[in-house]
Structures are given as C-alpha cells and as structure tokens.
Subunit: 293 residues, 4 copies
C-alpha cells in the first residue's frame, strides 16, 4: 500500500520503520529532514511538505508531540488536508485533544477524506519492539482498511466505534491512569521510606501483590466496569478505616498523602449518603454519581 | 506445632483451616462460638477466651476487623497477653494502626513474649485458595520461627525487618494503592462512559494495556523505587499536557476528575521548580520532596 | 465626552446609565436592541453594530459575559476594532481570560488604538448603586484619560500598571477568593449543621468574628503580602492540630471537608520541610514556594 | 466571685488578668510557676496543683495548648475534677477536640459538677485588649452563671446551646475558615506576584473589596446560611468559567492553585447534576449534599 508518515520523532520513526519493513511504499516528512535519513536508506521517499506526502499516499499517518504540531502539519497550504485525495485516509496517532480530533474529523469529512484516530499506548522502546497497543476509531470502512497497517505497529488493536475522538478520550484516560499511579506510588514510597522500609523492600511487595501476573487491578477494573461489587467483600467503612490509618501513620512521620486525603473525603461522602455497608468499590460509584451518571 | 487462632471471620476461618490442614495442633477462639464449629470438627479445640487459647499455644494468631477488636482480644484479664507464656509469640495478622502495633510490641516485650506483625494481602477467596501474600516483621528469631506457619497461609512472604509496625505501614500503603486505583478507575470509567464508550470497551483497553501480564505499573514502580527515570522518556510538560487535555475533555462532558486536577497541580509545581524537562515520574519525586525526603 | 457602551446586560446597563447620568454623550449597542430602550429614552443613541458605536466614540466600554461574546463584538467587520479611530480607547470591563486581554492589547496597539482593561468587582445591585470597585491597567496616559469615566461607575479605582491583562489576573483572583469562601463556608455550615448548631447561630459567630467591621481576613492578607508572620503567633503545628480536630469531628458526623483535607497536607508538608515552629501563615509561604517563588 | 485559672500561657495570662482586674478572687495554676508572678503581685494566689485551684473556686477556667495538656490538668489525683466541689463549674476555653469535650462533659456530670465549653476567638493581642469573641455552650443555668465572667474577657459572647462540644465544633470551624483563607490568599498572592503585580497592589484591592467594612463575605455567609441564592445572581457556569480562567492564567505562569482545582471539580459536579443555572453559591449546597444534608 502507499503509505505516508508525518512526524519521525522518538515514536514516529520506529512506527514508520515497521511500515517500511512490512513492505509498504513509504513517503515521509519530518520538520528536520535529517531524521528521515534511515528511512530513506530503507527505500522511503522524503517529501518537502506534509501535503506532498499526502499526494502520494492512500493512508497518511501523523505522529507528533501536541495539538499545535498536528495542526501545523494538517491545515494550511502545505498541510495533509490540502494534499490528500478524496477517499484517502488520515490516520492520526498523536495524543491530541478531543476538540482537535473532532475538528479534524469535520475538516476531512468536508473534503470527502477519511479520518481515523489511532493513538497508541507504549513508550519508544515498545514502538521499536512492535509492542504498542493501538486504539482505532472512525468511520467503520475506513478503520477496516487501516487495520493491516495498524497491525504492523504493535501487539494488538482495540476498536472504539465510529467517532474518532472516542479513541482520543481513551488514550487520555489511559495516560491519566499512568500519571495517577505515579502520584500514588510516589506517596506510598515516601511513606514507607520514612517508616524505615527500603524502596527495594516495598518494590518487592508491590511486585508480588500488584505486579506483572497479578490480576488485582484488572479484577477491580471489572468490578468498576460492571458497576460495583455485590455483596460487599470489603465495606466502605473498612476502606475509610484503612485510609484513616494510613493518614495517621503518615502524619506521625510528616508525610503528606494528598490522594489519601481525597479518598477519605469520598469514603465519608459515600457513608453520609447511606453507603456505609457497600463494598469499597463504592468509590467508583461515587465518581460516576458526581458526573451525573 | 501448638498454634492458636483468635478471630474466625471471613479471613480468619480459612487461614485457620490451612493451619489445621497443615497438621498443627489448633486452639481457637471466636466471639460467636458457632463460627468455630467447622474447625472443631476438623480437630481444633475451642477456647472460652483468647487467654485460654494463648495458654495452650506456642504461636497465637489474631485476625480481626479493627483496632478495637484487636485490643479487646489482646489486653485485659482474658486477653492474649495475659495467657501467653514467656517466649511464645503473638502473630498479629489484622490490618491495624501503626500506633496499636507499636503498643502491642511494647506490651509483649515487657512480658518477654514475642510479637510478629504479619498482615496479609488478599480477599477471603484468596485466603481460601491459599493465595494470600503475607508480610512479616518483628524480632528476627521470632519471625524465623513463624515462617513455616506463615508459609501455610499463602503463596509467598515478604520480610520487612525487625520493627513489627513496618509490616503494618506496608499493608496500609497497599490498601491505599488499591483504594486509589478504585477512585482513578471510577473517574476514568465515568469519563469514557459519558464520551459514549461502553464500559466493556474501556475494560478491554485496560486489560490489554494495564491488566494481568502487563508490566507497566511494575515498571513504573521500579522507576519510583530507584528515584526517577533518566533520561526523560516522557517529559513533565507532556504529562501536564495530557492531564490538561483529559480535564478539558471531561469538563466538556461535565465529568469531575478530582485526581486529575491534583496531578495537574503537581505537574505545575514540578515545572515551577525547574523540572519541566524531567520525566513525568517527577510526580513521585515531588511526593518525596513534600515529605522532606 | 463621547462614550460608547457595548453590552447592556445586568451589569452593563446600570454602568451605562451612570455614564449617561454623568452627562456623557452616549452611543450604545446590545445584541437585543430592546435592552437599550431605557438609555435611548435618556438620550443615548442606539447603534446597529459595535463598529458604529466605536465610530462615534472617544472611549468604548465593552461589558459582556465571556470571551466569546467579547471576541464577537471586538473583532470582525462590525467589531469595535474596525470602527475605532486611532488614539481612541477601548475600555474592556468584562471578566475575560488573560489570553484574550493580551490579544486585544496587541490588536489595538497594531491599529494605534488604546486598550484599557477595567474589570469591576460587584454584583448588578452594586453596579446600580454605583458601589463597584474598578480595576484599571494599560498604557498610563490612556488609563489617565479614562479615570473620570471609571470614577462615574463606582466607589473607587485601583490602578494596576501598564499591562492591561494584570487587571484581568486580579479580577480572576478576586473571584477565586469569593468562590473559595463559598466552598469553605459550605463545608463549615455542613459541619456545624450536622453537629446540631443552627445555621443562624453559626452565622452569628461568623458575623461577629469575620463579618463586616472585622479586620481579621484583612490582617491575614497583610501578613501574606509581607511574606509571613514573625514571630509565630500561632505555630504550624497548632494549625495542623486544629485542622485535624476539625477533620475528626467531621468524620464522626460523616461530613466531608475537602478543603480541610488539603490544608492538612500543606501543614504536614510545611512541617516535613522544617517549618513546624513557623506561624500558620506558612500555608501562604508554601503556596508561593510551590509556584517557584 | 471565687475564680480559678489553670494555664497561664500567651492566652491564659491576659484572660486571667482581666478576671483579676474585674475584682474576682483568683487562684491560679501554671506548670511553670514563674508565669504566675504578675498575677500574684496583683493579688492572686498560686496553687500547687489544678486540684488545689479547684478546691478554692466556684468557677475554674482552663486554657491550654491541646488535648494532652487539658487532660493532664483535668484528670488524675491532682486534676480539676478531683478538686472541684459539686455544683461548681469547669469552664474550658482551650481549643480541644470534640471527643475530649464530650468526655469532660460526662466526667463532670458524673461528679455533679458543671462543665461549660467556652473557647475564644482572638490572638494574644486581642486577649490583652479584651477583644476576644467568646463562645459558650453547656447546661443553661451553668452557662448563665458564667456569663459575667465570660463578659470580662472580650467584646461579646455567642451562646450555642446545651451541648458543650457544640462550642468546640464552632471554634474548630472558625479556625478552619482562617486556615482556608491563609491558603487561598497564599495561592492568590502567588498568582498575582508571578503576573507582575506587587503584593502591595493586590493587598490594596483585597482591602478595598474584601477588607474591613466590606460586607461581601458576610453577605455570602448569609446566602449559605439560608441555603442558597435565588434567583441566580451569578450562575454556576460563570463561576466555573472564572475558575477555569484563573487556572489557565496560573498554568501559563506555572502557579499551582490547588483550591481552584477543587472548586473546578465541584462546579462541574454541580453542573453534571443539573445545577448549571443555579447561583454559584451552589458550591455550598453541594458541600451540604456531600454530607448527606
């Protein structure tokens, strides 16, 4: 297939290399042409503008750092939209805003071009190892046609329906999960370190209880997905108790635990609203309720 | 070995059953004697008080719901401390406060009794399946002598040094991690649901990216344990961008994301203090810094 | 003076009426012309577009609900910028973003027009009673020329330098203070109500201690402005103690106090960083420190 | 009257001096006797223990730093409870926990002694100037008899019913309001400083808009006390807009505003639950609702 690739950064380069390796006919563009050299040596042609990439392609990937960069390569005289023929597809893999994804969807539709949002999970090392997890959303036939290309990029694909920006919401939610874990780990390691426990020892417990091959977080995700755990395995009052004990231990050691303070509030609100005996996954129910669900 | 068990609730009963099955000579106590019946049929003797359990045991487990319950069976005329001979060991598996654990350690030491904190990770179903993960901390020789018993309860043990309450800190930290995950999952599912993504679809992504067999959270725990990721794989500024985009998407759908709001603050503080180009695991560094580490 | 007024909503109408009453020659514009009728009867002329208002004015006020509305009346063929002669001044009283205020400043400068940001504090009833407090920032001579007009609107003016958007930052900060007070009052009234104290009784205490004629908040603002209270009148450790006691009382009554939870964290962080014996106004110092100040 | 005073710290000493000046017959106790010297010279007698103070008094004030100190002077062989005759009254002015206040109430009742909680608002300088505001709660006749003494301490009294600890809840709520204001001021000054506005300039605005003689916070307290502002003077959506603009301005300047982030969540939750067009005092309604009110 004739494939274009715009944006050859730490993520984009290995992704484009997989497409080249899969035998696709590649046109590429990067702001600094130097980055394209390895691909050029592997047979890809280097375009002077994103529009030129689009002119030569049935599918054009874009993979850039942020909204501004994606806007810069998409719109305007030299942008992907101005070069792409009707029926051809822009595959947007960048982590961009829902608003920009919606705007791109409209703009492409207005020109009878396809637009598929296909953000990916994984750091550059996963991109290089073809271990990305790929999301895909957009008009079903357009997505269908992209699948062989997306399969070349990683270890699997989740399709998320016909609204492209749904994939962006899911990507942002995933990064939110990771950042939250970093925060919570930071707080937990701070507490345990000040309690005299070596980071390696706490890491050992984390690995044993929550690490690879543990199903614990996945099981809780299932509970949240189906709307709460019944009957209560571990009541909200016990959840509140444990969070309070963590806060007390932390206060005695002068360790702030802002997430724990927030959990405490949410447990108390649940109890105030009559859910004292509900499973502690009520935290998720309360989050849904605050959102009006 | 002569083993006692005080507290035969949803967790305690299956734990005691494993000890019985392992061939230990068991004395047990529960507030409502009825609960002890299955163990009695398996050969265990039922005591009238915790003290009586202690009199007949080299090691007495206690496994109860909270501080008040553990205090009730430990102190006083009929408590474990009053029945235990010098040199014998109280193994406290309940999730209790650091303060109570410290107090128990002192009280037992004053009577030349051993005290080992051995809280466990796992719900009742894991207890029944001998899949608990057991923590252990206390005077090394006492812990050493407990290991065969603790091994009978689960799939592994992490030893956490000679201060018993260190094990309680770790147990509380673990429950804090789980409750945090419930909160964050609740927020993420609320966002994706209001964006029109079915809970099953988002669960599918969670399972693929973060679920069993994914090393992602464990890898981040390693990063946090060793004090931050260098060189930056994903900069703080990009972390802030993604959290901001999640918040914007959520605001457009009227979904509160309190944890994301907090992450935003912590990223901004990191940037204000000169860490814009540091890996986004700087969230953990900031948590340590707030704690004076 | 020849004065224009664009936006005759709940705030704009009484403001324009004060300008008319002060004897100025008034041209006005409102999306729904009906709103302009009372002013028309008082002698003001009604323009068909914001540009027409600007053509007839030396100074044009705009007072609208949000950025979008201000953009709509400022830019484009029929906007204020297209009608205003060089040397004439746009006085922007709306509560708008810093970004839009900066953009307006640039756009007006590019056309040799003046631009003064003059947001106001006060609800419509204060506007009607000429009790607004007016902020003003912009090029000094432009501000100087506006002062007689601004004086006609309220009980006083604070000048905030030559960068217009500084006034917008201050206006937003003021609204942030009010919203914060609403939140904190909401939490405090919830706690006291559940403790059996009537809202009227707690209101009585609030009025006596913090109400009109109390200098307490103003005194704390002075302390914060000069960078902290020395020597400590009330130590951070005592502040932490009282917040903890409030949280404990609230938990016993099942009242979430999210702001109190956050204060607790910030006190603990202050103590962890060596400020245990500093005055509790250290909370403000920590806020500055988090911002890299 | 025969009055005792236990605790002659920065607050207690000037309070006791007012009682002496009012002509009461004073017995006093302080852990370090040295502090009592000025009172002794004014005619007060110095007791060796709190019990001795109580033996000579119809009313015994206690004014100490925290729960532990109040427990130490109240209970035990040498404590106030052991010295006080039936029908005499302990007036507890310390800022203590609700739990301790409830415990003191029970203990005094068991000995047919009176107990009045009478915490005060004001720093030491206000105590010296007789400008404290005094709360009082307890059995009505006991409170009645204390009023002449309490009047000697400050500029006014609010009575809060017959449950002593209600006064402690109100005192803690008041300190929570002050600490919240310190936090919010800290955030607002950090933002305005980084925006180039001098602390003095922002202080000027604060004084003009929110300072002494401004009724703004008191008016909002009235709104909250009566349960919300109707009709909406300023809608929740506008409140959210302004908080968002403050957060955006702050992010551009790298200033974390944690309270603003929380307000944002609470506005969004209000909107998600159908209150978009309600006055922004809906923040207080949401706080009540979270508490199950």
């Amino acid at each position: 297939m004739k494939v274009g690739f715009v944006g050859l950064g730490a993520m984009g380069l290995p992704m484009a290399e997989h497409l080249a390796a899969a035998g696709h006919d590649l046109w590429v563009y990067n702001r600094t042409h130097q980055r394209a050299q390895p691909l050029h040596e592997a047979g890809a042609r280097i375009a002077a503008t994103p529009a030129e990439v689009a002119q030569h392609s049935d599918f054009v990937f874009s993979m850039l750092a942020d909204d501004a960069a994606v806007e810069a390569v998409s719109f305007g005289e030299h942008g992907i939209l101005s070069g792409l023929s009707a029926g051809k597809v822009h595959i947007s893999s960048s982590t961009i805003s829902v608003a920009l994804s919606d705007r791109l969807a409209l703009a492409h539709a207005a020109q009878a071009q396809g637009y598929v949002a296909a953000p990916v999970f994984g750091r550059p090392v996963a991109a290089a190892a073809k271990q990305l997890w790929v999301l895909a959303a957009g008009e079903p036939r357009a997505v269908e046609r992209c699948l062989p290309l997306l399969s070349a990029l990683g270890r699997g694909i989740t399709q998320l329906g016909d609204k492209p920006s749904a994939a962006n919401v899911v990507k942002l939610s995933g990064n939110f999960l990771i950042a939250s874990m970093l925060e919570v780990l930071g707080e937990a390691f701070a507490l345990t370190r000040k309690a005299g426990i070596s980071p390696d020892a706490f890491l050992g417990v984390f690995s044993a209880v929550f690490g690879q091959s543990s199903a614990i977080f996945e099981n809780y995700a299932k509970v949240v997905a189906k709307g709460g755990y019944e009957p209560a395995g571990f009541k909200a009052t016990l959840g509140l108790k444990d969070v309070r004990l963590a806060l007390e231990a932390a206060e005695a050691l002068a360790v702030p635990l802002p997430v724990a303070g927030m959990l405490r509030d949410h447990f108390i609100a649940a109890i105030a609203q009559g859910h004292a005996d509900v499973d502690w996954s009520v935290l998720a129910t309360m989050a849904a309720q605050r959102a009006g669900l």
